[in-house]
Amino acid sequence: MHAALTIAAKDLKERLRDRSAIVLAIVVPLGLAFIMNLTLGPITDQAFSTDVAVADADGGPVSEAFSGMLSEVEEAGFITVSEAADEAAARAMIDADEVSTAYLVPEGFSDAVGMSRDAEITVVANPDQAIGAQVGRAMAEGFAGEVNAVRLSVATALALGAENPGALAASAAAEPSPIVLASGQTEGRGFDFATFYATGIAVFFLFFTVQFGVLSIIDERETGTMPRLLVAPISKQSILVGKLAASFLMGVASTVVLWIATTLLMGADWGSSIGVLILILAGVAAAMGLTAAIATFTTTAEQAGAITAFIVVVFGVLGGVFFPVTRVSGAFVVVSRFAPHFWLMDGFQRLSAGEGIPDILPALGAILLFAVVLGGIGLVRARDLVKY
C-alpha cells in the first residue's frame, strides 16, 4: 500500500508540474462551458413564441371575447397578436410568412353564437410555421369548446326553468378561459443550459483526464523507467494500483473543481451534492474502465491517446454532452444508451431537475455496469502492461 501511494503521489506531482494536464482537465473544459453557455445558451434557451393575426369582421361580444383570450395568451409571452383589416390582409400576412396563424371571424359571428346557429372562425395555417400553426389551431379549438360549453349551460338552464338567459350567458362566459398556457418543463427535467453545458463538458473531459493513469504505464515503458520500478522490492499490483489511484484522484478532483467553479461562476445547478458526488465517483470509474480497456489494446501512448480521443468524442456526441439527446429520436436514441456518457448526463439532468438519488439509480446502475465490464477488461490487460 505504501508503494502504491508513493507511486500515486509521484504521478500526481508529475501531472501537476506538467501544466498540460491541468489545462486539459480544468482550464479548457471550464472555458468551453463558459463559451458554449454564452453563445449557444441564449439561442437554445429561448421560450416558444409565435405570431398570429386576427381579421375581425364581426366586432360583436363573442369575437371580442375571442380577442380577449388571445390577449391573455399574448401577455403570457407565447404569441404576438396583430390585427388585420380584412380577410385579404390576413391572408397576405400568411403569404408573407409574417404570422403562423390567421383567424378570420365572419360578420354576424356573435349573433350566430347567441342564436345557437352554426358559427365558425376560419383558422388559416402557415405551412412554413407548422408548430406555430398547430398552437394557433389549438387556441381556436379551445375557445370553440368554451363557447359550446357556455351555449350548452345556458340551454340546459333554460330547459330547467331559468328565466334570464342573458344573465346566464354572461355569467358562463365570465368563467376563466379553458386555454391555460404556462412555461413548463418536460417530464420534470428542469435543465437550464448553464447546467447542461457545465455537466456536459465535465463529463466529456473526464474521459480525457483519467486516461493519464493508464497512459503513464505505457509512458514508463517508453521512457525506460518501468525496469527500475520492476526491480524495486514492490509488487506489480502496487505499481498498477498506484497508477490507477492517481488517475482516479485526478478524475474526481478535476470534476469536483468544475462542479464548484461552474456553480459559482456560471450559476449552474447540479442538484443534490451527495447525488452529484456519487455520479462523479461512478463516472470516474467508468471513464477509467473505458480508457484502460482502449489503452491496453494499443502499444504506444500516442496511439492510445488518439484512439481514446476518437472513441470519447463519438461517445460524447452519442451520449448528449453537446446537445440534449432527448431532442432527437429514432435509432440515435437506442444507440446513445451504449455510451456511458448518456447515463452520466441522464443522472446529472435528473439531479439538476431536483430529482433525488432513487431517481438516478437506473443511470447509476448502467454507469457501474460500464465500469465493471470495461474496467475488468482494462484491469486484466493493464496487468500485462506492467512488465519489462
Binding site: 506531482k13 508540474r17 525506460g224 523507467t225 522490492p233
Partner: protein
C-alpha cells in the same frame, strides 16, 4: 573467506526458436567487479534482466545473497541495484525528487534524506539537485541514473552498458564511480562491449557470445588463452572483408576478421606476418592506410575464441 553475493547457474532464456541465453553461469563475490563482455546481441542484457528479476528464467537459477531471484521475489530484489542501459529517470521531477521517490520504494525510512544527500555528493549533483532533470546535460542524467541504482546500498549493483552514447568526459567520470564502488566492497556486474572498460574495471571477465560464456577469468588468464600471439590492426581502403580469406590462409596468421574499414589479425609472430599481410591486401587491390601492432588483449582473445571482432 570471501562472501559470495551472486551465484548464477545454467541460466536459460529463449524467444520462440531463438535461444538468447544458453546455460550462462558465474559467481560474483563481495567487492568484486565482474565484467560480462560480448558484442551486441550476445545475450548480456537478457542475462542481467533475469538476474535483476525483470525477466522470468526458462531454466537455471540466480541467487543473490541467498535468495533466489524471480520476477516476484521482493527480498532478492532489495539486494540488487540496477543501472539500465537507457536513462531511467523522471524528467519533470528534480534530481533530489527522483532519488527520494526510489528511496521510498525501497522503504528506506529513517536516514532517507541523509542518504539522498550522500548519493548526490557521490554523483556530484549536489549543486543541481533541485533542478528538474529535463534541464540536465546528458552526462548529468547518466550520473543520476547510476546514483539511483546505488541509492539503497545494494549488495549487487548491475550496470548494463552505462557508457553507451556518453561523451568521453562523462564516460571517464562513470568509470571512476564504478571503480570506487568496487573498492568500497560492493559486488558489481558490469556489461559492456567496450574491451577497454572491461580491462580497466573488472577483476574477472566472462566473455559471452551467442548466449554462452565461452571463457572466463582475470584479464591475465584470458589473454594467456591467446598464447604469445600478437594483434595487427590494419586500416585499408575499400571493403576489407574481401581479403579476409587470403589473409587467413597465410602461414603466420591464426585468425582474421574485418571490422568496419579495418582488418583485425591475430598472428603467431607479428614481425614475420606483417609483410605477408600487407602483400596479400595490396595483391587483392586494396591500399593499406595504417598498421597498428599490439600485445594481446581482450579483443584478441575474443577474436581468437570466436573468429570475429568484438564490435562486428
Amino acid at each position: 573467506m570471501t562472501d559470495t553475493i551472486l551465484v548464477c547457474t545454467d541460466l536459460r532464456k529463449s524467444y520462440g526458436d531463438i535461444v538468447a541465453v544458453d546455460g550462462v553461469g558465474f559467481t560474483i563475490a563481495a567487492g568484486e567487479t565482474y565484467g560480462l563482455l560480448g558484442p551486441n546481441g550476445a545475450g548480456k542484457t537478457t542475462s542481467i534482466s533475469m538476474i535483476a528479476g525483470l525477466l522470468e528464467k526458462d531454466g537455471g537459477s540466480a541467487v543473490v545473497v541467498g535468495n533466489e531471484i524471480t520476477t516476484k521475489s521482493t527480498a532478492a530484489k532489495a539486494a540488487i541495484g540496477l543501472v539500465p542501459q537507457d536513462l531511467a529517470i523522471y524528467p519533470d521531477l528534480t534530481g533530489r525528487e527522483n532519488l527520494r521517490f526510489f528511496a521510498k520504494l525501497y522503504a528506506m525510512g529513517a536516514g532517507l534524506n541523509e542518504r539522498v544527500d550522500e548519493v548526490l555528493e557521490i554523483i556530484e549533483l549536489t549543486d543541481r539537485a533541485d533542478d528538474q532533470t529535463k534541464v540536465y546535460s546528458g552526462g548529468m542524467k547518466r550520473r543520476l541514473n547510476i546514483g539511483l541504482g546505488l541509492l539503497h546500498r545494494p549488495d549487487l549493483l548491475i550496470l548494463d552498458e552505462p557508457t553507451v552514447g556518453v561523451d568521453p568526459q562523462s564516460r571517464n567520470a562513470i568509470l571512476e564511480n564504478v571503480e570506487r564502488l568496487g573498492e568500497a566492497g560492493m559486488a558489481v556486474l558490469y556489461t559492456t562491449h567496450y574491451m577497454e572498460e572491461a580491462e580497466r574495471l573488472c577483476d574477472r571477465i566472462g566473455i559471452i557470445d551467442e548466449g554462452k560464456i565461452i571463457a572466463e577469468g582475470t584479464r591475465r588468464e584470458l589473454v594467456a588463452l591467446v598464447g604469445g600471439r600478437d594483434r595487427l590492426h590494419v586500416e585499408t581502403s575499400g571493403d576489407p572483408s574481401t581479403v579476409v580469406p587470403d589473409v587467413t590462409a597465410l602461414a603466420d596468421v591464426e585468425s582474421c576478421s574485418a571490422a568496419g574499414s579495418a582488418l583485425e589479425v591475430v598472428a603467431l609472430n607479428a614481425s614475420r606476418a606483417l609483410p605477408e599481410v600487407v602483400l596479400a591486401i595490396t595483391r587483392d587491390g586494396l591500399d593499406v592506410h595504417s598498421v597498428d601492432v599490439s600485445e594481446p588483449d581482450l579483443e584478441s582473445v575474443f577474436l581468437h575464441l570466436t573468429g570475429k571482432a568484438l564490435r562486428e
